[in-house]
Every structure is written in structure tokens, then in C-alpha cells.
């Protein structure tokens, strides 16, 4: 769970960036809820440099060495591990039906799907959806707070950051003791990041090319997408800006 949340923020903050050091700006953007913009941009630049130096080359090697079916299996497996966290948040949001979907997916994919390697549930019409405690807080009415960019983890805000921490408590792996737990957890996190970056290397390069201000682009995408996730895709269109 934590790994997948890290996945999201790493994707946005580390994998998507452009060199932004020369782009550091003035003191904040109220419309974007970004009072710490100068600092955020500097951290974003750091994340981008780390991506270029470490993550992207690793992801490219992963794509080259590991065959496609194996990468798909790894991807399915990683998402399946996140099911308990999703289910907990489904319940906390009162989404009983979606919780049932999550449970059914977990049972089917873990058993028939060989430990989650195969998305059997998806093939029979039970689609994946995501939930996390940041979304749950949003459903409960919590404001997102100021936009933040975290070292290594990219875009966030106090609500989502809180959600990341709480989601650790929802993950059964947190409470289970077994040999080599540290290495398992580390491997899960690292593999999640590589999986995500590898699957989107080409796409992200194209996105970079189309951005006038990549930091601002990622910020807008992050905030709009999170709002959509909280609304489960059912956004209120009556408040759209006038053209």
C-alpha cells in the first residue's frame, strides 16, 4: 500500500520532471494553493535529477531484460498486495459495493490468479479501482491544504501525506512478522517504482515535450486528478470556469 502511494508520488514528482532549477519562481501561487512554490520547485528539480540519474536508466533496463508477460505479472501482483488498504478505505467511505469488488478481486486474483500474478477478476468484469486514506479524508471533507513536493516522493499535500502514513497502518504487512521482512518490504517498494516508471517511459517523455512549465503542469494534473479520485469520477460540472 505504502509502496503504491509512493509509486504515485514518485511517478509524478520524480519521473515526470524537467530540469527546473533555473525556473524557480516567486513566493507562491495562491490560486494553485502553492505557498511554498520556491521550495517545492527546488525539491522537484532534485527529484528530477534523481530520476534521470537512477530511476529512468533502471526502468529502461527492466524493460529490456524482463519480458512483457513477466512485467504484467509483477504489476498485477503489486496491485493485488494493495487490496487490504483499498478495502479498508472503501469501507471507511461507506462504499460497500466497491468494497465488495475489492474483496472479490483479492480473493479471485490471489487464488485462481496465482497469488495475484493474473488479473482474473478484471477479465470477468470486476474492474480495479483505487482508494487510499488521503481520498477518504477528502470524502470526509478535509481540505487538501498547501501543495507540497517531497524529496524522493514528489507531489503531495498535508491531507495526502497524512493518508500515506495512515495507510501503512491498514496494510497487514505492517503487523506480520516473518524472516527477511525488511528485504521483502524494500523489494516491494523498489519494484513498484521501477514497474511504474518502466511502463510509462515513452509516454512521460512525450508529456515533458508538451509542457510549457512542467512543474505547474504536474501540480495541476495532481490536484485535478486527486479531486476526481475523491469524487470517484463523478465530478460536479456546474462549477466549471467560464470560458
Amino acid at each position: 500500500m505504502r509502496a503504491l502511494r509512493g509509486l504515485r508520488v514518485l511517478l509524478l514528482g520524480v519521473s515526470l520532471g524537467l530540469p527546473l532549477a533555473a525556473c524557480s519562481t516567486t513566493g507562491g501561487n495562491p490560486q494553485a494553493h502553492d505557498p511554498y512554490e520556491q521550495t517545492n520547485r527546488d525539491i522537484f528539480d532534485l527529484d528530477v535529477r534523481l530520476d534521470r540519474a537512477i530511476l529512468l536508466p533502471t526502468a529502461q533496463a527492466y524493460n529490456t531484460v524482463v519480458p512483457g508477460f513477466a512485467r504484467d505479472g509483477v504489476h498485477n501482483f503489486l496491485l493485488n498486495l494493495n487490496s487490504p488498504v483499498i478495502l479498508t478505505n472503501d469501507m471507511l467511505q461507506g462504499e460497500i459495493g466497491r468494497g465488495g469488488q475489492t474483496l472479490a478481486r483479492f480473493v479471485l486474483n490471489t487464488t485462481i490468479g496465482i497469488g495475484g500474478l493474473i488479473d482474473i477478476a478484471g477479465k470477468i468484469g470486476i474492474p480495479y479501482h483505487d482508494e487510499d486514506f488521503g481520498q477518504t479524508l477528502g470524502v470526509w471533507g478535509a481540505d487538501e491544504g498547501p501543495y507540497l513536493v517531497l524529496p524522493f516522493f514528489g507531489p503531495s499535500n498535508p491531507r495526502d501525506l497524512t493518508g500515506d502514513v495512515v495507510d501503512i497502518a491498514f496494510d497487514p504487512n505492517t503487523y506480520i512478522s516473518y524472516n527477511y521482512k525488511f528485504y521483502w518490504s524494500l523489494g516491494r517498494g523498489v519494484l513498484s517504482v521501477i514497474d511504474l516508471r518502466a511502463r510509462n517511459a515513452t509516454t512521460l517523455a512525450g508529456i515533458e515535450r508538451g509542457s510549457v512549465d512542467y512543474y505547474a503542469s504536474v501540480r495541476s494534473l495532481y490536484r485535478q486528478n486527486r479531486a476526481n479520485e475523491i469524487a470517484n469520477g463523478k465530478q460536479d460540472v456546474t462549477n466549471l470556469p467560464d470560458f
Binding site: 509509486l7 511517478l11 519562481t25 511502463r199 505547474a216 470560458f243
Partner: protein
């Protein structure tokens, strides 16, 4: 059918969904074909019909690649109100910019938008777009909801991606003024970028125009990823 350069992930994790969304923002625009005849409102019919038109351009093997690009440009500029979109993306600077600056910006924005979409034309691989319904915004516009169906997606979840078109009635002529993919409105995202750029450049619309022209030239030349923020 919509031509999308979607990656082949299996399931949309939060990050995956974000990536798809961003990819679609670049790749989606108007290269689509309709899958169903659902058309309960004029706006829905408008989207349906233009999906067919867009597909016919993409699938026309009797013309050269350059002719296809030219036809698609004409199609795109006719389907959308790019001037209106451009002025919206200018944000607060629209109030202070001179008429000449606005005109230059609109031209640069149009070229930029078309250049982005032209680079995606070759990626069409059979995706379809199915209109599923519509709703009004309260500002006289209609949101036409649709689903992009990707037959090549490796998972059921990625096979159906929600999109929406904001359709406006411009004096009796319907035009698209914004596109939403996975909850993100493209024009709003562009406005956020441009506002930030202008904030960094003293609201100098000329600087934004010059930057857009540079990016457009890079797109058309197929140049490698530029260090866009090293300004």
C-alpha cells in the same frame, strides 16, 4: 475510435491512472472513431459525428501523410474554438494584454496545439470512443461523457477510460472548448501552466508566445526532449 498512445499497463493504480490521464491529454484530442450510435442530444450527436469524421481522416489510405496532416488540422480547427480556448488559457493576463498580444498568442497557441496533435496521428491503433451521455454545466455548455475503448489494453480496467468533452454553442455552431481525461480538464491544466510561466516572466505575453513558438518548432522538427525550463 480514439487514437491514443496509451501505454500497456495492466491496471490503473493511482500513479498508473495519472500517467494514462496525462498521456491522454496529449494524445487524445480528436483522433477518434465512434463505436455506438448513442446520440440523445445535439451535443452528443456532434461528438458522434465528428468522431466518424476524424476516423475517416486517420484511416484514409488514398492520401499522403502530409495531406492527412493537413486535413486533420482543418478538422481540428473546425471542431474546436481554439481562439476561445487560447484566451481562456491566458488566464488573468487576458485582462491586461493588448489586442495585438492576444492575437499573437492565439496564433501561437493554435500552432502549438496542432503540432502536438499531429505528432500523435501516427499512433492510431484502433481505439474507439463510445458516447455514454451528457449533462449541462449551468453555463450553457454541455458535457458529453464518453469512454475510450482500447482493444489492445492488456487489462479490462485499461480497456475503458472515461473522457468528456465540453461542448459550447457558439451562435448556433457547436464547438469543443475543453476535454477531460480521467478527471483532468486540459484547458484548465494549460491555463495553470501558462499562468505560472507568465508569473515568472512579469506577465510578458510576448515571452510566452516566443516560448510556444520554440516548442512548436521542436515538435515539428522531431527534436529531442528540450530542457524547456532552462530559460
Amino acid at each position: 475510435m480514439t487514437n491514443l498512445s496509451s501505454p500497456h499497463a495492466t491496471q490503473p493504480s493511482p500513479a498508473r491512472r495519472m500517467v494514462l490521464m496525462m498521456a491522454l491529454l496529449l494524445a487524445l484530442p480528436f483522433t477518434f472513431a465512434v463505436q455506438s450510435a448513442h446520440a440523445a442530444s445535439p451535443a452528443e450527436a456532434f461528438i458522434d459525428q465528428n468522431v466518424v469524421k476524424g476516423l475517416s481522416i486517420l484511416g484514409d489510405k488514398s492520401i499522403t501523410e502530409q495531406q492527412r496532416r493537413d486535413k486533420f488540422r482543418t478538422f481540428l480547427t473546425g471542431l474546436t474554438d481554439l481562439k476561445r480556448i487560447a484566451l481562456f488559457t491566458l488566464g488573468p493576463a487576458k485582462r491586461t494584454a493588448t489586442d495585438a498580444e492576444k492575437a499573437q498568442f492565439v496564433d501561437a497557441f493554435r500552432d502549438f496545439a496542432v503540432a502536438i496533435y499531429e505528432t500523435r496521428l501516427s499512433n492510431y491503433s484502433g481505439q474507439t470512443l463510445k458516447v455514454t451521455g451528457s449533462q449541462t454545466t449551468g453555463r450553457g455548455d454541455t458535457i458529453v461523457n464518453a469512454m475510450i475503448i482500447d482493444p489492445h489494453a492488456s487489462s479490462a480496467a485499461d480497456k475503458n477510460l472515461p473522457v468528456a468533452f465540453r461542448v459550447s454553442d457558439d451562435g448556433g455552431k457547436l464547438v469543443v472548448i475543453d476535454v477531460n481525461v480521467l478527471g483532468v480538464w486540459l484547458a484548465i491544466e494549460e491555463r495553470d501552466q501558462f499562468s505560472s510561466f507568465l508569473g515568472d516572466h512579469g506577465n510578458n505575453v510576448g515571452a510566452l508566445v516566443a516560448h510556444l513558438k520554440d516548442l512548436t518548432a521542436q515538435f515539428r522538427s522531431g527534436a529531442a526532449l528540450p530542457d524547456q525550463k532552462q530559460q
